[in-house]
Assembly symmetry: C2
Homo-oligomer: 775 residues x 2
Amino acid sequence: MSIFNTPSQPQGLAGQFAADSAYAAVDVFIGTGGDGHCHPGATRPFGMVQLGPDTQHRHHRQAYPWCAGYRYEDDSILGFSHTHFSGTGHGDLGDVLLMPFTGPTRLEPGYPERALSGYRSRFSHEQERAQPGYYAVRLLDHEVDVELTCSDRVGLHRYHFEPGAQPKLLLDLRSSVYHHPGKNLWSRLRLRTPQLLTGMRETRGWAAGRQLFFAIEFARPLARHEFHNTETDVEYRGFRTPGREPHQKRVLEGRALVAAFEFDIPADQQLLLKVGISAVSEEGAIANLAELPGWDFEAQRQAAAQAWADTLAVLDIAADPALRSSLYTAHYHACQAPSLFMDLDGRYRGPDNAVHQAQDFGPGFRYHSTFSLWDTYRALHPWLLLTQSGERNSDFINSLLASQRHSPHGILPVWQFHGLETWCMIGYHALPVIADAYLKGLRGFDAQAALAAMQASAEYAPYGGIGDYLQYGYVPFDKEGEGASKTLEYSFDDWTLARMAEALGEDSLAARYYLRAQSFRQLLDPATGFVRGKSSEGQFRLPFDPTAAGYGSDYTEGSAWQYSWYMPHDCAALVGNLGGDAGLVQRLDQIFEAETNPKMYSHMEDISGLIGHYAHGNEPSHHIAYLYAYAGAPWKTQQRLSQILPMQYASGPAGLAGNDDLGQMSAWLLFTALGLYPVAPGSNEYVIGRPFVQRASLTLPNGRVFTVRAEGLGPGHDYIGAVHLNGQAHDVSYLRHADLMAGGELVFSMQAEPNRAWASAPAARPYSQTPYPAA
Amino acid sequence: MSIFNTPSQPQGLAGQFAADSAYAAVDVFIGTGGDGHCHPGATRPFGMVQLGPDTQHRHHRQAYPWCAGYRYEDDSILGFSHTHFSGTGHGDLGDVLLMPFTGPTRLEPGYPERALSGYRSRFSHEQERAQPGYYAVRLLDHEVDVELTCSDRVGLHRYHFEPGAQPKLLLDLRSSVYHHPGKNLWSRLRLRTPQLLTGMRETRGWAAGRQLFFAIEFARPLARHEFHNTETDVEYRGFRTPGREPHQKRVLEGRALVAAFEFDIPADQQLLLKVGISAVSEEGAIANLAELPGWDFEAQRQAAAQAWADTLAVLDIAADPALRSSLYTAHYHACQAPSLFMDLDGRYRGPDNAVHQAQDFGPGFRYHSTFSLWDTYRALHPWLLLTQSGERNSDFINSLLASQRHSPHGILPVWQFHGLETWCMIGYHALPVIADAYLKGLRGFDAQAALAAMQASAEYAPYGGIGDYLQYGYVPFDKEGEGASKTLEYSFDDWTLARMAEALGEDSLAARYYLRAQSFRQLLDPATGFVRGKSSEGQFRLPFDPTAAGYGSDYTEGSAWQYSWYMPHDCAALVGNLGGDAGLVQRLDQIFEAETNPKMYSHMEDISGLIGHYAHGNEPSHHIAYLYAYAGAPWKTQQRLSQILPMQYASGPAGLAGNDDLGQMSAWLLFTALGLYPVAPGSNEYVIGRPFVQRASLTLPNGRVFTVRAEGLGPGHDYIGAVHLNGQAHDVSYLRHADLMAGGELVFSMQAEPNRAWASAPAARPYSQTPYPAA
């Protein structure tokens, strides 16, 4: 008997949601296969816990396809762990892996291809359900149904055993996502009472020296436990700790801990337990358990579902059912990170790996982490500014500022999770996030302190060749890898600082950074039209291969074909370098229409979703289709988006062409489907693309409603004939943020043929930098 | 030019102390060679910092002779680290190793036998000085004079460089005492300003998961630094951290960190720096620096010296100069542990490896750690009760109680340092420490809570076969190793609990533990007279080898020849088992007079100082010479002590026959030289041996003075003729604690021939347990 076969179907849709509700439209499995790297586990909006299945195998160490710990293509489950990224291109987490089982105790996971060779179990998608805040699956080999839900900091497990089966549970502290030998630095287990187990693990994975504490409360007392340490490669393990036999040990520490638990056979065949996590201490994890009182699984599941329903409610979409599902799912994915990372009492761990108190930074402040800034400054943070409260967005900014204050380097986060810096990717993209928020009116943070933190980050010489950048005016390839892409992104980031400084009346700082923002011009090669790496002696790299990408090249996760068009604050310079509007249009067409070998970029995991050289699966391409508008050819933008969106997004597990990157891929979809895209955060403009929805209404944080409507939308009607904002003709290819925030209606008249005249005049084009100052 | 050659001789005796002062009498080098394992570094009484030279070599991994990190026999110095044990039989510490140097930077220590093969340097005892709170040496290869002093939590370094030499400094976080591969779990370095460096190291040595944080303040700004990570055996080291070159890195973490620093050439040729340590955090270490303000090295040296002079002042000794020096040095050694282990703000780390606040345990409470209880419950803690304030002794007891409250096992410390349990040695000897203190009138702790903590410890089944002990009435050898010694020591510990329970009016608890205290009788073998291991089926181990010792035997660091006489609360049982007084005397004589092969116990490092089977170098023998008094033959005790003391204690580095064991060897000497020994802590009696001093006055914590005087002492006058307490004939072979604390004078009349009548009557013998209750 399984919950998947019973008439009451507790694993079905949470009761209060209609089949046509936004909640029901979310397909948690989108992006959990293919290259999406999304995770189907239970989580709350921006929650600290992401509780769900891990399917990776021990041989998958540091294996890119298993970044999320789960792949839809797998057919066996290792266990259920409490932290996961959704959509990253590098991996870690998978903390506190629990696995209910029956029969003999097996301490090793075994092999996917050999049933019962270990504790892992086969499963079938037929007996697997996931909805926002809920995950359920049947473990076929153990005949156990697993249901999971969570609050912000606590995971709640409910297991259903077969009648008469003795419930057993395995806890494997050796296991993590993206594992490798030596990753576990230390760990502890401590049985405090027959109903309370605590512990910690310290790892060197993506982040170094990461400590994760936990507290597991069992709804019924343990009947028996075993603590094991399976490490073998250590010279000295210390004196014998109390307890000769594994079941006599109440405390154990080491690098390879695994525990097994047995419970008396329950009358209701159910076993419930909850797991609180903390970055601070075991006591913090215990205290966090108070967030989820009692043992009413259904009530907790409903609460989690309601939190998601409230989050989804800002978006009201009328569209083709598949697209509507993709869009609500995209919003679901967009609302997972930055995630809360703070104990109930306000304590958190910062980039100095020390414990801090949120109250010291301001009343009500909630520290968040998991900032994938290279990805998310582009469209995710702009999307969150439109859909989340000022409090939540201010928490994000203040978390960046708190992190800067705690940083041993004194700089803002680059790629941070669980409070710790990973130094992943390039740029100082906290700057556009902060500047964009400030320029769009967010005021829940200290703007002067923010400006100082931004400046400290932009001038920290040891990081990413900034010293060379300041000395040479660009990042020379003989000094620092990936100098071309760094110069481009630093230039944009500098411009956002200048914009904010100007808004704050810091004119001389603004002037200096407006000048820095032009640094990218040093690498423009008018002869080829590309942005090229340049040596410290001023010579472009020779020979020049515009398809060279990634490590050892001048471009980060990309090639000159993908990166050369990134000066969103000054597309006029791009147009100039390519000999005018026609040159840009021609080059953009070349990008999309090139005959490229699909394996050309296969050495770079993140370069996926290819259309010619256009790689939608990675962020450097995300703005490219919108660049036609800067050349006065918005109809070509419309054409390319019509080509891209249906190809790169779909229903089902393989529905994302590349890593979701903590919501950036999803935010691109959301903006693009609504006909808008924030090409240059900090400009307070959205470039108009074309809508894909019949209608979409956004309930903005100020309470107003902004609606996009597409008249005449239908197969073959890919082009804009006209645009009206609140009934007035809108003949420019951008929308100002203020106009959006005022609420109202943007109506697109769609047609089969392009309207080449619309928004083609120079004055109708999106923002671009003022002319380059004379030297 | 060296400070060792200048007229002012700053390395000489601190100015205010006369050549015949107690301070001047301390020879810090006693026990730093041979088997003493003492460390000559600078420390305050019971201080947290023990700052001094390490001479061990990387090949000395886990090498018993280098437990202290320094051996007088060595001729080269690796560096100066901030934590050391003094006298242990197992090793760890050696944290924050600093080494000043000149010339090329060498990141590896090199080899003692090859000068300048690394950063280590040759030295000569001719140019080495140490006094309490002060250490100085010339580094011959670098031509640098090093002076060290400290406060409780801060080490102060002063280096003298040759004129024109550029000062350099190495910090090696890879190094520690008793090192082994994999010991370093993690470490961090962080340059906060050119004058402030912080960091941490986490190790799995004697204690597991030990974290030690530090803050180094330089008196002058660094001119240059380099941070290196030399680890090679790790699959994944994470993304590149800021700073391409070692000198550009301001932060580094990893398992094998080493740093080098350069300073501008100073006009005064001096470089000063201070190092604060903390178990809590880098911020804690920085805050602890406030304890040692300014840069006046001489003033700090004087303050440290004065703290020792005050500590030594309770003892006024007239004796042969060599013995007098040994005794003041013994008191110096006795006043190093338990040591303070708490930040200035009251935070400390407990056995749960979590941070606690001293104020939560009571106002004024100072947490102490480094409890070598198997050693120190015997004579060290009784000595400290006589010589330290009630506040200090209460801090010790409350530290034990706090540790029990924090313990994941809920039990009192066994062998604890830096707040963490090591599970070293056997027994639950916090019980006699607490009971003895309570019975002797110490009231600065919650006695009922203490009794509960003692009971929890004595009944914790998973530890050391206690479950079996409770089940079988002894620890069977087929269940648990070293069952005979465990049964003996548990029995004694139980008796101390009973004594304290009785004093608190907990009669039924007392009765139960008085019964448990007789458990040792299960292992008495009247046929052989030995205490023997017994199986769970009640059979003595066969074949029986009374010289079998240590691992795999029934005795801990000893044999039946050493262990069978340990029932100090019930020597009557021992007498009974050996057929009466004569039997005991005969057996004791056999112990001392056996023709033993010196290599008989060479497989056991701690069994040293042999006289027959008597091994003064280890604790199980410490009371044996006093047992004659229980057989009515105190003159034989006098005879044996006359034999033991001159043989086992001497001037000079090899002056201790065995590990000092955090002061136990020293406390034996102190008590014995005064003619007294606490054979059974908890009995409130000292067994009278014979004095070795002309006169010694103890200024007691209650302000009274107790004086021992030996009339007629001289060569060949080894025997007591008569004893008078305050003028009254004292014809028993023990002294009650109350009589001692009342102050007064105990006068021994020494003579060449034994007075066999003195204290020979049954009523004149020391305390022994009441007859065994009928079953």
